[in-house]
């Protein structure tokens, strides 16, 4: 029967299993989580597989490139970049090397590397520790983008990236989800890329939510339900590949759409999803497509400022209501 654990623990569990099952799986960087029981679990992984775990110098560009090169030569590396903003240093190697090698080689060179990063407004991170670059990675062909919202998906998607995938994957975990608990199935399993889940059913409005926005959307749906508004919450789980069908089916049913991601609004993930639906689902739309994202200002530090720019459940709820007035 499924165990309760935090998303952080589920990730370490997935890593531990993957390193056990496949000698090609290796880790560059920290242990995915910075504290809590998962930290201890990771220590045992380090004990067991230390040879395949490298603690790099503070040189993201170099070691993310090294991971890509290692993947080209037969390994299946996982890189823990830490805070997502640190991955900016490595964009030349991630977006301009790892992402392009397969296409550029005419389908000969596979790059099964996974870049793990903690994104978003964590609380007191200040502008340089509150980044959400998922739109940049989703914009880049050749990269897969995974954004789990639950411990179960976190583990299943990570196992998929580390053990099955033949393409580079950017793996996002929201800082504020790492400590959230949820049931995780027993035994070995992978969560499919490109298969969305309907986290909650409803007929009045569709809320497409990614990563940390999923629990926020569910909270908004609860609040809406109290007023008899039935919101459907769709969790794509991965942006690339994207399960367009499930999104279209939901919008086809509700005719109303809110899209939400904790990234900046211009060309953000919410905008990217909204644009797809404004084309493909136009005929079923009864109202404007609303986006709930981070407004166009660098994330400020002070508590009230930081909270003000966070795409909260309240803002999702308000956006949904605005479509039903």
């Amino acid at each position: 029967m499924p165990q309760e654990m935090t998303l952080g623990e589920a990730l370490v569990e997935g890593l531990a299993e993957a390193m056990e099952q496949d000698q090609r799986v290796m880790l560059i960087g920290g242990g995915l989580v910075s504290s809590g029981p998962a930290r201890a679990r990771f220590a045992s992984v380090r004990q067991r597989h230390g040879r395949r775990i490298k603690s790099p110098p503070i040189a993201e560009l170099g070691y993310c490139g090294i991971a890509a090169g290692a993947a080209m030569a037969g390994l299946r590396p996982l890189v823990d970049v830490g805070t997502a903003t640190f991955s900016y240093e490595a964009i030349p190697q991630i977006n301009n090397e790892a992402a392009v090698a397969y296409s550029n080689s005419g389908g000969q060179t596979n790059v099964p590397v996974t870049y793990f990063m903690r994104y978003g407004i964590r609380g007191g991170g200040g502008v340089q520790h509150s980044g959400s670059p998922q739109p940049w990675y989703w914009n880049t062909p050749g990269l897969q983008v995974a954004m789990p919202a639950t411990p179960a998906d976190a583990k299943g998607l990570l196992r998929n990236a580390l053990l099955k995938s033949r393409d580079p994957t950017i793996f996002f975990a929201h800082e504020r989800l790492l400590g959230e608990r949820g049931p995780v199935p027993d035994g070995e399993y992978e969560t499919e890329f490109g298969k969305a889940s309907v986290a909650r059913e409803g007929n009045d409005v569709t809320i497409v939510a990614v990563g940390v926005q999923v629990p926020r959307a569910l909270a908004a749906a609860d609040a809406l339900a109290r007023d008899g508004i039935a919101a459907e919450v769709v969790d794509p789980k991965t942006l690339e590949p994207l399960d367009t069908e499930t999104l279209l089916a939901s919008v086809g049913k509700t005719g109303r759409l809110v899209v939400t991601d904790e990234s900046h609004d211009n060309c953000g993930v919410a905008a990217g999803l909204a644009a797809l639906m404004a084309d493909l689902a136009f005929d079923s739309l009864k109202a404007p497509i609303k986006r709930v994202a981070i407004p166009h200002v660098p994330v400020p530090f002070a508590v009230p400022l930081e909270d003000y720019v966070t795409p909260t459940a309240e803002r999702i709820e308000e956006a949904a209501r605005s479509l039903l007035r």
Partner: protein, 340 residues
């Protein structure tokens, strides 16, 4: 070594060092004693005060300073108001950056600290740019960029060092070697001696005891002069004994509040950290030195510390009682060219 200056100036260095220590002690207590006041993690400057104060004592107000995630002490050393520093660290409207920057990004443009990067190595490029501006605008400003030993892992440091040398920028690379990367012990570099890197790029290097404020001051005074004379850039390694409170993810006052009397009577210092307070603490060492020097005794120093503690307490009160910014202010300041 006592700095070559007047008694009052010497005491003023101690005052600044103590102010940094007392302010940082408040920061740690903010975190320990006020649930939710500090949401994220933070870095403090305890154990490196002699470096920041020694360097800034050799600088002029128009000189530029760039710092890191470990900036609190640097800003105070350059003349920053402890109240406005503490207020920024806890995100108050009265902070140097109106609470928008926070602990990682305390900056003070009016002190010529235009922007503080918490990205390891990030400031080395920005500082080189400020030095380039001083060169082209023909001002006499010197730029000092503080960074840690870990920053020498990053390519941006290497690229900046190369351009600073190629363009002969009026810049001093001030590497604070605390033999740690944040809380972690990790040599992380293949160079036996980190100074071999600037040497390979033809940049003159100097090593100083970062715990000896007099030595730091003397060295910087000379290098600042030579830098103004167009002989820069220079690279300085300031070596400090890592303060045990910095081991691990969150700073802790492993020995409680520093008692200035430990300078003469280390007895009460907790066993496990006694070595550091005996050899590593530049404040206690300097206090001892001063008391032995002429025209100054232990009492003067103890009284000075009491005075500083009162000021630091007031600064902490000021920060704690300062208003938070109004939520809507979040949307301001994205662009200078917009009516905010």
């Amino acid at each position: 070594m006592l700095p070559d200056m007047s008694r009052d100036q010497r005491l003023d260095l101690l005052r600044k060092m103590l102010m940094i220590r007392r302010a940082e002690e408040h920061v740690v207590r903010f975190n320990e004693e006020h649930e939710g006041l500090i949401r994220g993690h933070f870095h403090i400057y305890i154990g490196q005060e002699a470096t920041g104060v020694g360097v800034c004592a050799a600088l002029a107000p128009e000189d530029y300073l760039f710092s890191t995630h470990r900036n609190h002490g640097h800003v105070i050393a350059k003349g920053g108001d402890p109240g406005k520093v503490l207020a920024e660290i806890i995100g108050r409207e009265t902070g140097y950056c109106l609470g928008r920057g926070g602990t990682f990004h305390v900056a003070a443009p009016d002190l010529n600290i235009p922007h503080t990067s918490a990205i390891v190595g990030g400031s080395t490029a920005l500082a080189s740019g400020a030095a380039l501006a001083a060169q082209l605008l023909e001002t006499s400003a010197v730029t000092v960029v503080f960074f840690g030993d870990g920053a020498m892992d990053e390519g941006v440091f290497y690229e900046s060092l190369n351009m600073a040398k190629l363009w002969e920028l009026p810049l001093i690379f001030l590497m604070e070697n605390n033999y740690r990367r944040a809380g972690r012990v990790n040599s992380g570099h293949s160079a036996d001696d980190l100074a071999n890197i600037p040497r390979a790029l033809n940049v003159e290097t100097t090593a100083v005891d970062g715990g000896d404020v007099g030595q730091v001051y003397g060295t910087l005074l000379d290098l600042a002069r030579r830098t103004r004379a167009g002989q820069g850039p220079f690279f300085v390694e300031a070596r400090t004994h890592p303060w045990p409170g910095n081991d691990g993810d969150h700073p802790e006052l492993v020995a409680g509040l520093t008692d200035i009397n430990w300078a003469w009577d280390p007895g009460p210092v907790p066993e496990k950290v006694r070595p550091w307070y005996a050899e590593g603490d530049g404040i206690l060492a300097y206090a001892r030195e001063l008391a032995d020097g002429e025209g100054c005794d232990r009492d003067t120093i103890v009284r000075l510390d009491e005075e500083v503690r009162r000021e630091a307490d007031a600064a902490a009160q000021f920060a704690l009682t300062s208003p938070l910014p109004a939520p809507e202010a979040a949307l301001h300041y994205a662009y200078a060219g917009r009516s905010d």
